[in-house]
């Protein structure tokens, strides 16, 4: 399998970096222009998925091990929820970004949305990759006696 | 009725012995005549005093006497008629319903019929 599709493999190698870069662009411009964590996360996941499709599941799992995927899924949510909790600990409402810079609320908003979007991005990446792994790594169909 | 020691008047209480005169028909008749006389006297007494009563009816001489006599006679006759319709045997509702048993003996020196 490794010896086939040479062109595909070369093009993929070139594209993966660009896709990731684009993902970061979408991620960090999310608070100014169209974009944000959801879209960026999917784009980021696409980089890994296309790598997996072309080079095989094993290679993709070497690059981005499944345990890490799982942790990232959780980490993203934790980041998102954590921002809210921190704002709460600072004496503001849940997810009230003003908390991060009480005197310049707009700065606080920047920080807050950035972190939250990052959390969303991480989780979406993780979830998309996890779904891909799950489908691609599906065990053979159940035997009759399993039913 | 056989004569038993219990039947002997000597065993009666003194008061009972004294009352034995009622056993004689003649004495009973005397009492009845006495009653007749008393009744007549009471009837006549009505004419002898000022009757202080509520009703004009009461002023009728011998009203109470006549009322008492005739109402009581009527009462007995009516009751006798009622008996015709109402009387039933003692076992009407249930056997032994009335006096199902002798009164329970409770160790006291009761005298029964058969002594």
């Amino acid at each position: 399998m490794h010896h086939h599709h040479l062109i595909l493999r070369v093009v993929t190698k070139m594209l993966v970096g660009a896709i990731m870069l684009f993902a970061f662009y979408v991620q960090f411009h999310g608070d100014f222009s169209p974009g944000g964590g959801f879209q960026a996360g999917v784009i980021m996941a696409v980089a890994f998925i296309i790598y997996g499709i072309v080079f095989g599941l094993d290679k993709a799992e070497q690059v981005f091990p499944p345990w890490l995927v799982h942790k990232l899924v959780a980490l993203g949510v934790l980041l998102y929820a954590g921002v809210g909790v921190v704002s709460m600990l600072l004496g503001y409402n849940y997810l009230d970004y003003d908390a991060f810079s009480p005197h310049h609320p707009s700065h606080g908003q920047h920080w807050g949305i950035l972190l939250v979007e990052l959390g969303v991005g991480i989780t979406v990446t993780g979830v998309m990759v996890a779904i891909y792994y799950a489908f691609a790594g599906r065990p053979p169909p159940m035997k009759d006696e399993d039913w | 009725m056989a004569k038993t020691p219990k039947d002997d008047p000597a065993n009666y209480p003194a008061l009972g012995r004294w009352l034995m005169f009622l056993d004689k028909k003649k004495n009973v008749d005397r009492i009845v005549y006495g009653l007749y006389a008393l009744c007549t006297a009471l009837f006549l007494a009505d004419f002898l005093y000022y009757k202080k009563v509520y009703l004009d009816l009461e002023k009728f001489p011998g009203f109470y006497a006549l009322y008492g006599f005739f109402m009581c006679a009527a009462l007995v006759v009516c009751a006798k008629l009622m008996r015709r319709y109402l009387m039933r045997s003692e076992d009407y509702y249930a056997p032994h319903d009335v006096e199902a048993e002798e009164y329970p003996e409770d160790g006291l020196d009761r005298e029964s019929v058969n002594d």
Partner: protein, 509 residues
């Protein structure tokens, strides 16, 4: 806006309760996954649910006077921002959900060990927490779209939880799949309804929606939205003809999941239905009344009888209990359809009482399945005698399911019958009593199997482990307790019913 004009006053723990209610379990789920240690998964889940329960109790006490607590997420005031809004109606349901969650977890500890492969344990507890979060969120939020989000969180995790039963019986997979299809359609209908509402009013905050609908009156979009929301949520509620996902899901799910779902999932959905029918849409709308009379009453009567008959003939006790749930949901819908305060409080109180009762029964069955391996009647023969404490708990809660005086079930049926008489619907009151008779039959069958048949001589059954017995008995005692002390259940249900019946005025700020 508020931040610019006034200087900030630091919020305290007590101010955050409405959101903490949801955030604590929400936080627990990723932590369980992130730590990934099997031995820590259960303690974290339990701590989170216990905290949620404490919070819900505090909230319930705070709103019992008929007031409400509004929490603005992100500091954005409604209708712009997301609002969490706690009043007596949802505080009661929150307390039920978090209470059941807290009681189920100790039970789950043993049951999960027996029924689910070890590698899935952490994920199981994470999913459980997510489902828990979703149900709490659905109930706590005052934002219509937020309801949808949490509905999906709870639904998706429920599908996973139901599928965990596959280890035991592969039919759990089809059950989960059916549930997924049906649940998704329901959720889709719901979101379509929301979209229509948004289109017609331009707002998603429930209180704001209520105001605008009340001000502007109805139009066809709003009516269509009503139909979509009622049918979509009705599916999650398992209104009679939309109930087909429920028996399989309850039957094939792992025991702990059956317990949790039976006691909470449909109840949360009923709450949402109530909230939309009474708070968002004005109950005095003619179309709403007609929907109640033409759709709800016939179908709930059908549910009461058809589902009860099915339950009578079932050979699988879990399935029997599932069908009995469908019948009991009929009672709750009937209470809504009465459209009076007594009927609504009957619904709310039955929601709690039935939740507690059913949870106790499913726990008993789950404990017996540890030894019998299945929930078919002929495998449970005489187990009541071999497991006396489990059997006794099932008897207590079975009596409550029938509605024997002195049990929780009696209170709610009693109030429901009263509500029927208040409306002069004595035929319906008779129907309620008749269908209770059917409950007597199927519960009696259960007693008969548990006590009056000879146990299998090869059976290794012994008394259930303490971790299962304690939660079971907590709920069984609650069944009796709520049959005598109605201050908490009926009292808060009445306050809640009054709030709901006030319609959009009940949502006023």
């Amino acid at each position: 806006m508020a931040a610019e004009e006034t200087h900030h006053v630091a919020k305290t723990f007590m101010d955050h309760l409405p959101v903490l209610q949801v955030v604590i379990p929400l936080f627990a789920a990723p932590i369980i996954v992130f730590i990934g240690k099997r031995s820590l998964a259960w303690p974290i889940a339990f701590a989170a649910s216990a905290a949620a329960f404490v919070i819900s109790c505090i909230l319930l006490i705070q709103v019992l006077d008929g007031g409400f607590i509004s929490y603005h997420v992100g500091g954005w005031a409604p209708p712009l921002g997301i609002e969490y809004r706690i009043d007596a109606a949802n505080a009661l349901v929150l307390a039920l959900i978090s209470g059941i969650g807290t009681v189920v977890l100790p039970y789950a500890y043993e049951s999960v060990k027996a029924e689910i492969p070890k590698k899935n344990h952490t994920l199981f507890y994470a999913c459980f927490m997510l489902c828990f979060t979703g149900l709490l969120g659905m109930v706590a939020t005052g934002d219509a779209f937020n309801v949808f989000v949490f509905l999906e969180i709870s639904s998706l995790s429920t599908y996973v939880l139901v599928a965990q039963g596959a280890n035991h019986n592969k039919r759990a997979l089809t059950a989960a799949y059916d549930y997924l299809i049906m649940g998704t359609i329901g959720a889709t209908f719901f979101i379509i309804g929301l979209a229509m509402l948004y289109m017609a009013t331009g707002t998603l905050n429930m209180a704001d929606l209520a105001d605008r609908i009340a001000d502007e009156g109805t139009n066809r979009t709003i009516r269509a939205a009503f139909a979509f929301i009622v049918v979509g949520m009705g599916l999650k509620v398992a209104i009679y003809p939309l109930h087909h996902w429920l028996p399989n899901a309850y039957t094939f799910a792992p025991s702990a999941v059956s317990v949790f779902l039976a006691a909470t999932a449909t109840k949360a959905a009923i709450y949402v239905l109530l909230r939309f029918m009474f708070s968002v849409f004005n109950p005095s709308f003619v179309f709403e009344e007609w929907t109640l009379y033409i759709v709800f009453i016939p179908f709930s009567l059908l549910a009461m009888f058809a589902a009860s008959f099915v339950a009578v003939f079932q050979t699988n006790i879990k399935r029997m209990l599932a069908y009995s749930s469908i019948a009991q949901i009929g009672y709750m819908l009937l209470g809504i359809a009465m459209l009076n305060a007594t009927g609504l409080s009957a619904t709310l109180v039955h929601l709690v009482n039935h939740g507690v009762t059913k949870a106790a029964l499913f726990m008993g069955v789950g404990a017996m399945m540890l030894y019998s391996g299945s929930a078919f009647f002929n495998n449970l023969n005489g187990l009541g005698r071999k497991m006396p404490l489990t059997g006794a708990a099932m008897v207590a809660s079975g009596l409550s399911l029938i509605g024997v005086p002195g049990t929780a079930g009696f209170i709610s049926k009693w109030v429901l019958v009263q509500a029927a008489f208040e409306n002069g619907w004595w035929i319906i009151a008779i129907a309620i009593m008749l269908s209770s008779l059917l409950a007597v039959i199927y519960v009696w069958r259960m007693f008969e199997v548990l006590y009056l048949t000879a146990p299998d001589p090869q059976s290794t059954a012994k008394e259930a482990p303490l971790a299962m017995l304690v939660p079971m008995w907590v709920l069984a005692i609650a069944c009796i307790w709520f049959g005598f002390d109605t201050e908490l259940t009926l009292g808060s249900a009445r306050v809640a019913a009054d709030g709901l019946l006030a319609g959009s005025a009940g949502m006023a700020h």
